[in-house]
């Protein structure tokens, strides 16, 4: 082999967009760079963390870089509220307060900034959570893309509802609170002008009231997770891994809206890996599954709640399988990295 004919090699020295997509690449970045650098202890990576020394207090932070800033069903402002409120809710917490941090690119029209901030304020009000502190930074043209938003939330847990990604148990019913794929396909379609945006809207909405409805059966609710980046496939894989259980879902039971199915077919995407911002999966003890479904369906955001599968009585920990329409079984793998960057 001569010097003009280099051996094939892979480039790992720079960050790729896929590192931010919530799939395998993101996990790799966390495991190899971020967590070691922070001297993080072992344990599952949850949507929100317990504040050390306070069993009831939960904290979560999230940065929003969605492009475009406005899309059918929401905008970066409302999304920034819903995202953090939902991360708190997935640990069973009611939101107490939010912080908001804005990073604005020089040249952003004030009118757009105003709409985003007003939408953020409205979303916080509707969720019943005050914004108590914040920060604003402006960077030069090109140093950020229009507007990035970070929100941090603190929440409080009540009663026996203490879900964790590590608590799924054999026999649990797997419930889904609503149809999947709406947020990701809406944002992609709006950004790329694909023409589906007339038919679909993001499902972005707060889920803390839906979680509160599960309060009366608190102890039977083992895991809650909102399948955002990486979609349902990533959420189920994380739960199966963190709880060391085998999960199986039924393809025909997973609700995929018609427009999402069409868009995904056209673009070669799998609805299971498309991001959502307004639904959640719940792993519930089998004998409480009926009551949990009734509770979810009692609220508009859970009206279409369904049972999509179960935790198998035995099977390799960390495996997620799907019964296909024709009755075969296949593995649902952790997505590599979503093909849709900057979806939230």
């Amino acid at each position: 082999m001569t010097i003009e004919c280099p051996a094939p090699r892979h480039e790992d020295e720079v960050v790729l967009l896929g590192h931010g997509a919530g799939g395998r690449l993101t996990a790799e970045l966390l495991d190899r760079v971020v967590l070691p650098g922070l001297h993080a202890g072992p344990g599952p990576l949850e949507d929100a963390a317990l504040l050390p020394g306070h069993r009831e207090l939960v904290i979560s932070t999230d940065s929003f870089v969605v492009s475009p800033l406005f899309f059918p069903g929401g905008d970066i402002g409302s999304l920034a509220v819903h995202g953090t409120v939902n991360d708190l809710a997935m640990r069973g917490a009611w939101p107490l307060a939010l912080s908001v941090s804005l990073i604005v690119e020089e040249g952003l029209p004030l009118a757009e900034l105003r709409s985003v901030v007003e939408s953020l304020g409205k979303a916080a009000q509707e969720a019943g959570v005050p914004v108590v502190t914040g920060d604003t930074k402006v960077v030069g043209r090109g140093a950020a893309d229009r507007l990035f938003v970070n929100t941090t939330g603190v929440g409080q847990r009540h009663g026996s509802l203490h879900p964790s990604a590590a608590l799924a148990r054999p026999g649990d019913a797997v419930l889904l609170s609503g149809p999947i794929g709406l947020h990701g396909t809406t944002v992609l379609s709006t950004r790329e002008g694909l023409g589906f945006e007339g038919d679909i809207a993001s499902d972005s909405r707060p889920l803390h009231r839906l979680v509160r409805a599960l309060g009366p059966i608190g102890g039977a609710v083992h895991v809650l997770r909102d399948p955002t980046r990486g979609g349902l496939a990533a959420a189920l894989n994380e739960i199966a891994r963190d709880s060391a259980v085998a999960v199986e879902i039924e393809e025909s039971a997973v609700p995929v809206p018609e427009a999402v199915a069409s868009a995904c077919d056209l673009l070669g995407l799998d609805p299971l890996i498309v991001a959502n911002e307004g639904c959640m999966v719940a792993f519930v003890a089998a004998d409480a599954a009926g009551r949990a479904l009734d509770a979810l369906r009692s609220l508009p955001e859970g009206a279409q709640a369904v049972r999509i599968g179960e935790v198998l009585p035995e099977g390799p920990g960390g495996r997620v399988t799907l019964r296909t329409l024709v009755g075969a079984r296949r593995i649902v793998d952790m997505p590599l990295g979503e093909q849709l960057p900057r979806i939230c």
Binding site: E4, P8, A261, R330
Partner: protein, 365 residues
């Protein structure tokens, strides 16, 4: 849903499987030509439900997989030039070239963009007259008409900053090459429905007759594939070798003649090297003389290309159906979608990626 749910009905699917079990008396070997069909077969697990002994052989119809390494290396050399915007379909960006891929180039500053249609690249060129916009045009007969329309449109707009790296391939020469291989096990073909929606099936009739092999033009939904397999098995069982059309809702014998005209006016047939398979005569398309000014290979003289495949990759044997991904020593370990050694592990239409996504392991049958 219209044109979707009807072809994914579990009850009808099981009925077709039962009928297939009642019809097949021998361990037939059927090749589905198109990667989209492979994807559905593996995703739905249809190939694992076939009657005992019957086997699907996964064909070469993955455009990303058969695009020659040299074309990829050329695209990357062009993308690395200042002022160039290189555009292509999403899958192409992750395909490993000799030493990098387009996504990694982008992370290092090259302007590489995903487009969903070649016309988007033309619009980009019109919007950025100071930049050179290059479209990496790959694919079978299916994508050729849209790419031809992009060239015609660019010509009409008089765009001097738009060009294409053309690496189109044609299905019938590849099928013929497979059949002429003395080791060929394929006893019937499911022809690619979308290719035939453009080209029709006239050109398959002499192949069926000469090689005495049934060919069924087949769609991509679970029921399409089951019905296509059943039609092929019925021909095999009764000793017939005809071209039949399962995909009646999309395909006519003469195809889409307007699309064929556009392709003929912009492109001409040429010899083409297929990645993993080798050179096949008259198996590709290149820009016709009247449109060579849009040829990026001429516009950007790229020298010193030195394509080097990973020695462990058996993509050629995968693409011809001679081996399964699970036969490969690197499958799932040194070669994964995260770090693909070869193209079939990249595209969702690639056989290796389809196997990997469905969680098939090397120990599985």
């Amino acid at each position: 849903m219209k044109y979707l749910d009807e072809y994914r009905d579990p009850v009808l699917a099981r009925r077709l499987l039962d009928e297939l079990r009642g019809t097949a008396t021998r361990p037939w070997r059927i090749m589905e030509v198109c990667g989209g069909q492979t994807h559905t077969l593996v995703r739905q697990g249809i190939d694992e439900l076939l009657p005992a002994g019957m086997r699907m052989i996964h064909g070469p119809g993955c455009p990303v997989c058969v695009t020659p390494l040299e074309t990829l290396d050329r695209a990357m050399a062009v993308a690395a030039r200042p002022g160039v915007i290189l555009t292509s379909f999403g899958d192409m960006l992750r395909v490993p070239g000799s030493d990098t891929d387009l996504l990694s180039l982008r992370a290092r500053g090259a302007d590489v963009r995903v487009v969903y249609a070649p016309m988007d690249a033309v619009r980009l060129a019109a919007a950025h007259p100071d930049r050179e916009v290059v479209f990496l045009a790959v694919g079978f007969e299916t994508t050729a008409p849209a790419n031809a329309m992009a060239v015609l449109h660019a010509a009409r707009l008089g765009l001097a900053n738009f060009s294409m790296i053309v690496s189109h391939v044609l299905v019938p020469p590849a099928m013929t090459a497979l059949l002429e291989d003395p080791d060929c096990e394929v006893q019937a073909f499911l022809a690619a429905g979308h290719v035939c929606a453009v080209m029709g099936w006239r050109e398959y009739e002499p192949i069926a007759a000469r090689h005495r092999v049934p060919i069924v033009v087949t769609g991509f939904e679970p029921l399409d594939l089951l019905e296509g397999i059943l039609m092929a098995v019925r021909q095999l069982e009764s000793g017939r070798y005809e071209v039949e059309n399962q995909y009646v809702r999309a395909v006519r014998r003469s195809g889409n003649t307007a699309a064929q005209d556009a392709v003929r006016s912009v492109f001409k047939v040429t010899d083409r090297t297929w990645r993993g398979i080798g050179a096949l005569p008259d198996s590709g398309l290149e820009l016709a003389d009247a449109y060579v000014r849009f040829d990026a290979a001429r516009r950007f003289a790229v020298g010193g290309l030195c394509p080097a495949e990973d020695p462990e990759c058996i993509a050629g044997a995968i693409l011809t159906g001679a081996k399964l991904p699970t036969d490969c020593t690197a499958y799932g370990t040194r070669c994964t979608p995260r770090r693909p050694l070869g193209a079939p592990m990249v595209s969702s239409e690639g056989t290796c990626a389809a196997f990997h996504a469905a969680g098939r392991t090397r120990s599985a049958p």
